[in-house]
C-alpha cells in the first residue's frame, strides 16, 4: 500500500542515505545495462556487417570465376581460329607450290622458245643471204623458203610472247599466293600469342576467384563467431535488465511508491487526484518541460507524466510581491527621475 506524502517528505526521502544507496544501485544497474546493450548492439552490427561482407566476397568470387571462364572461352576461340588459319595456310602453301612448279615449267619453256626464236632469226638471216646470191628458179625456191622462214619466225615470236605473258601471270599469282600465306601465318602467330596470354589471364583470374571464395569462407566463420559472442552478450544484457527490474522493484517495497521506467510516483497527501513524480532520467525533449534526475514534479492521475509541473514548496508571500510592485511602479524605474517631457 502506497503511503501518501507531502512534498517536504518526498524531498526528505530523496535526501536520505537509504535513497542515495538505492539511487547508486540504480545508476550502477543502468550503467551496466547501457554498456552491455552497447556491446551487444556493436557485436550484432559487426556480425551482420561481416555476414554482408562474406556475401559480397562470395558474389565477387562467383563473378570473378565467370570472368575466368570468359578468358578460357576466349582462349579456346583463339585456338580454334588459329588452327583454322594454320590449315588454311597449308592449303595456300600447296597452291603456292603448284604455282611455283607451273611458273618454273613456263620459265623453262620460255627459255626454249627464246632459243628457238634466236635460231629461227639466224636461219632467216642465212636464207636471206643465200637468196641474194641465187637467180632464176633457184631464186624462186629460195624466196619460197625465205617466206616460209619468215612465217615460222612470226609463229615463234607469237609463241614466245604467249609464254612470256603466261610466265608473268603465273609469277604474279605465285607472289600473291605467297603474300597470302605470309598474312595467314602472321595472323595465326598473333592468335597463338594472344591465346597464350588469355590462358594465363584465365589462370590468374581463377586464382583471384579462389582467393575470394577463401575470403568469403573466412568471413562467414568470423560472422558466426561474432554472432556467438553477441548471443553471449545478449544473455548478460538480459541478466542486467533483470537486475535493473529488481532494483526498481526494491524501490517500490523500500520507499512505498509506484515505479515506472523513468519515474517514481508518490501519492500526494490530501490530494487524491494528484501525485508526485520523481525523475529518474534526464530528458529535455520528450516531456512538456525538461526532466532532470531526482527532480520532483506534480502530476495528476489522469494525465500522468504527459503533463509535468515542477513541484515547489510554497508560493512566495503576497507581501513580497507587493514590495516589488511598489518598487517598480512607485519608486521610479531603476532609481532614475522621470523626465518631465517623457510620455
Amino acid at each position: 500500500m502506497q503511503k501518501a506524502r507531502r512534498l517536504a517528505e518526498v524531498k526528505d526521502l530523496l535526501a536520505s542515505p537509504e535513497f542515495s544507496a538505492w539511487w547508486q544501485s540504480l545508476s550502477v544497474a543502468r550503467q551496466a545495462l547501457r554498456e552491455l546493450t552497447e556491446q551487444y548492439d556493436e557485436l550484432l552490427t559487426q556480425a551482420m556487417l561481416m555476414d554482408f561482407r562474406a556475401e559480397l566476397a562470395q558474389k565477387n568470387a562467383i563473378d570473378t570465376l565467370y570472368r575466368s571462364g570468359e578468358h578460357e572461352d576466349a582462349a579456346a576461340g583463339l585456338l580454334a581460329e588459329s588452327t583454322e588459319l594454320e590449315n588454311q595456310s597449308f592449303k595456300s602453301v600447296g597452291d603456292f607450290e603448284e604455282l611455283r612448279f607451273r611458273a618454273s615449267e613456263t620459265w623453262y619453256k620460255l627459255g626454249a622458245a627464246e632459243r628457238q626464236l634466236e635460231e629461227q632469226k639466224e636461219q632467216l638471216q642465212q636464207a636471206q643471204q643465200q637468196r641474194e646470191k641465187l637467180q632464176g628458179s633457184a631464186r624462186r625456191e629460195a624466196d619460197a623458203r625465205h617466206s616460209q622462214r619468215e612465217h615460222e619466225l612470226k609463229l615463234a615470236e607469237r609463241a614466245f610472247r604467249q609464254l612470256q605473258q603466261e610466265y608473268e601471270r603465273d609469277n604474279t599469282r605465285k607472289t600473291r599466293v605467297w603474300d597470302e600465306v605470309e598474312r595467314i601465318w602472321a595472323r595465326s602467330a598473333e592468335m597463338s600469342l594472344t591465346m597464350a596470354e588469355k590462358k594465363m589471364q584465365a589462370k590468374k583470374v581463377r586464382r583471384e576467384a579462389e582467393t575470394g571464395f577463401a575470403q568469403a569462407e573466412e568471413r562467414k566463420q568470423r560472422a558466426q563467431k561474432l554472432r556467438a559472442e553477441a548471443e553471449a552478450k545478449g544473455s548478460s544484457r538480459e541478466q542486467a535488465n533483470q537486475r535493473l527490474t529488481e532494483v526498481l522493484t526494491q524501490a517500490r517495497e523500500q520507499f512505498s511508491c509506484a515505479i515506472g521506467d523513468e519515474f517514481l510516483y508518490f501519492r500526494e497527501r490530501d490530494q487524491s487526484q494528484r501525485a508526485f513524480a520523481v525523475g529518474l532520467v534526464a530528458d529535455s525533449q520528450t516531456f512538456n518541460i525538461e526532466v532532470k534526475p531526482l527532480a520532483v514534479y506534480h502530476v495528476d492521475r489522469n494525465r500522468g507524466v504527459s503533463f509535468l509541473e515542477p513541484a515547489v514548496e510554497q508560493p512566495p508571500s503576497v507581501e513580497e510581491g507587493d514590495r516589488r510592485f511598489e518598487a517598480y511602479f512607485l519608486q521610479g524605474r531603476k532609481g532614475e527621475k522621470k523626465p518631465a517631457a517623457a510620455g
Binding site: E309, P310, E320, F325, Y328
Partner: protein
C-alpha cells in the same frame, strides 16, 4: 548549461525572485540549432518565445518581391517570439540561427504553469514584455519622427 544564470541576465526575467527564476528554468527546454537552421518562419502560428543562451540569430522578413531581408541580429541574453505569444497572431518574421545557437524555449503552456504557481512573477514577466514592446514602439516613433 546554467539555465538560471542565463535567465537572470535576460531582460525578460528582470525583477523575478530566485524561486521564480528556478521555476522558469525548470519549465524551459533547451534547443540546439545549427548555423543556418530556421527557428520559426514568418506566417507560422506561434505560441512560444525563445531566450538566447549561446550564439546569434537573425530576424528576417520577406520583402514585396519575396526575398528574405535581414531586419536585425540578436545575441544572448536577448529574447524573441514574444509578439505572437501576446497577440496570438501569426509570426511576423522568420528567425534563423546565424551561428550555432542554444536557445531556451518557453511555451504558453509553460507560462500558464508559471502563472498558476507565481502570479506576481508572471505579472512581472508580462510587464517586462510590455517594457520591451514599449521600448521598440518608442524607437519606431523616433525613427518615424526623424522622417517627417
Amino acid at each position: 548549461m546554467q539555465k538560471l544564470e542565463v535567465l537572470s541576465r535576460s531582460p525578460l526575467f528582470e525583477m523575478l525572485s530566485t524561486p521564480e527564476l528556478e521555476f522558469v528554468a525548470d519549465l524551459s527546454r533547451p534547443r540546439r540549432y545549427a548555423a543556418g537552421e530556421i527557428v520559426f518562419e514568418e506566417g507560422e502560428l506561434g505560441d512560444s518565445l525563445y531566450v538566447i543562451v549561446e550564439g546569434e540569430v537573425e530576424v528576417l522578413r520577406k520583402n514585396d518581391s519575396g526575398e528574405l531581408k535581414v531586419l536585425t541580429g540578436l545575441a544572448a541574453p536577448a529574447f524573441f517570439g514574444e509578439m505572437s505569444l501576446i497577440d496570438k497572431e501569426y509570426r511576423s518574421a522568420s528567425v534563423r540561427a546565424k551561428t550555432e545557437a542554444v536557445l531556451l524555449h518557453l511555451t504558453a503552456e509553460n507560462l500558464a504553469l508559471f502563472r498558476k504557481q507565481y502570479r506576481d512573477g508572471f505579472t512581472f514577466l508580462v510587464i517586462n514584455i510590455a517594457r520591451v514592446l514599449s521600448s521598440r514602439l518608442r524607437e519606431a516613433n523616433t525613427r518615424l519622427a526623424s522622417r517627417l
